[in-house]
Symmetry: C2
Subunit: 313 residues, 2 copies
DNA sequence: ACCATGTAATAGATTTTATCGATACAAAAT
DNA sequence: ATTTTGTATCGATAAAATCTATTACATGGT
């Protein structure tokens, strides 16, 4: 049994296809076939059921794959040990970010971070919370930023900041004249929300549920970005809710439409997520420090009420 | 980096000597030299300081060795996964037992166990508690039986049984006429104990401390086995204490010298110890079941007061 | 039934790697 | 100084991993 063989097994298990797995591992397909056969022989078990199309893991194959992942993870960690000792922070690092955090948070810390940690090659991907969960679990992401708490077994969460929600209330709206709004003022049929998969909505939906309605399910409109939402709102289609950081760069003439919540303000918790195996922990720590450092200045400390994206489950 | 290289590193780290490590790993010394150099090159670090005699680990070398152990442990566990799936219980299993448990417990379960699990090649070694701790930590033992609680980080304890102490009181001794004895009856200067390293004594010493004396340290006599102790006791050199199982096979004419404690009787806790990495867990489980099964019949359930071998620290 | 397609297994050649035996070299012990 | 003990180096060899080319085997479509 070699580490290489185990990596091959993981690749085939992932792609359910020897040929594709071969490309990903930069070897030819016969190499994979042979090495995996050799491993199966050594262990005297069948890892893959090759009669199925596409290829499938056998019952024991699944356990083998799990253990293989453990071994490969520990092996990868060897480089971490070396890097840590050398004080070296570098290498490829894959970070996932949910869409409603990406545009505001990324510009705030990216330049600073890459300047400080030039050896780290950040690969950032915009992903939904579900995609993030899967990709952290199977090691395709080193870390991610999403609304929490998720409380997923095998994923660690480190809170970056609490981001209050702010109401965006167009003229002629029934709440326009209030200086501060409260959760119970909200009406689900009255709020423009982002499309499904954006976990921001989860927070808001729960906020509304918690404060008022039974949520009659059907919303009036769904859109892809807060910019659109604001425009729709301006057209008189209803109010909307924006995470605090998004309110920082809306045009001045529209700022008068912002209505903060009375404290404790509803807020979302945004955290850094990573696999509990803690691979590349040094980079994760560096990221955490960078982000929470830059955020400390941006979000005024205030009394907030956390809205869980998971509460609806 | 290969698993083989990591095993070589572990061997050299253990023996502090390439030549000996080579013998243990069944390769030649140049093979070790080359493979370890290759690994050092790949990681761009020095694992060993070869200027020192005997050879030493560098600072980072120690961390590398730790991680190497993690990887190799996970790799070894692959066979466990396969065995578990196949319901196969077998292979070499190294078990350590402390001297004061060995002669009584071993005969009770060994025959039964080997009959039931013929595929397991038990290698049993008589060791002191300290030796056991070290050897479990570095993987030279798969499990051990000793008096607990030890509460060692990285070692798991599963209690096998509680073994009451029984007084062996010769004629003309001041306690001879009592039907049952109590902890406070004991006097350290008056008891024959086993030599240091036998953790049984720890228990007794603590028993005495707890019940009476400040333990003026110097004992009158120290010996190597309970048999000797009994004989010395018969010669009028004082009373002694025996673990319950040892009292089962003393000659009938001497049984009249046994004095049980009033309940709750002082007792020692005897446990199965194994590394928290849980390698070969199936065999450990099998052992546990075998031993606690045979013990259930042998030790009458009674109210006991546990004497910790560690309390003196 | 036959063929096209996608995919894995096999065979043989080639390259790479691990290991060995012999020996050189260094440091400590005598 | 010489012997002992132990590691590094060298060249040869055996073992292995990988490659290219090809075959085998399904599956679905015609």
């Amino acid at each position: 049994m070699t580490i290489t063989q185990l990596k091959y097994v993981l690749a085939v298990a992932e792609h359910q296809n020897f040929t594709k797995a071969a490309q990903k591992t930069f070897v030819t397909q016969p190499t994979l076939s042979m090495q995996i056969q050799k491993l199966e022989e050594e262990l005297s078990i069948q890892i893959f059921d090759r009669t199925k199309k596409p290829i499938e893991l056998t019952a024991i194959g699944k356990k083998i794959v799990n253990q293989a992942r453990n071994i490969v993870n520990e092996a990868d960690r060897m480089q971490d040990v070396v890097d840590q000792e050398k004080g070296f922070i570098g290498g490829v690092f894959k970070l996932g970010i949910i869409p409603t955090v990406m545009p505001t948070l990324l510009p705030m810390f990216l330049k600073n971070f890459t300047k400080r940690y030039g050896k780290v090659q950040l690969k950032i991907e915009e992903l939904t919370t579900d995609e993030i969960i899967h990709k952290i679990k199977d090691g395709h992401l080193d870390a991610a930023i999403a609304a929490t708490p998720l409380e997923i077994e095998s994923i660690k969460e480190r809170v970056l900041y609490y981001e209050p929600f702010v109401g965006y209330i167009p003229e002629h709206h029934r709440l326009f004249d209030k200086q501060k709004i409260e959760g119970k003022d909200l009406d689900l049929d009255d709020i423009l929300l982002l499309e499904d998969g954006h976990c921001f909505r989860d927070g808001v939906v729960n906020l509304c549920k918690a404060s008022k309605l039974q949520a009659g399910d059907s919303f009036q409109l769904e859109s892809g970005s807060f910019e659109t939402l604001i425009k729709l709102s301006n057209e008189g289609l209803g109010m909307t809710l924006l995470p605090f950081l998004h309110t920082l760069d809306i045009p001045n003439e529209q700022k008068s439409y912002l209505r903060y919540f009375t404290e404790p303000s509803p807020a979302r918790e945004v955290s850094l997520l990573y696999n509990k195996n803690e691979l590349k922990l040094q980079i994760i720590n560096a990221l955490y420090e960078s982000i929470s450092g830059v955020i400390r200045g941006a979000i005024a400390f205030q009394d907030v009420k956390i809205i869980s994206p998971k509460a609806k489950n």
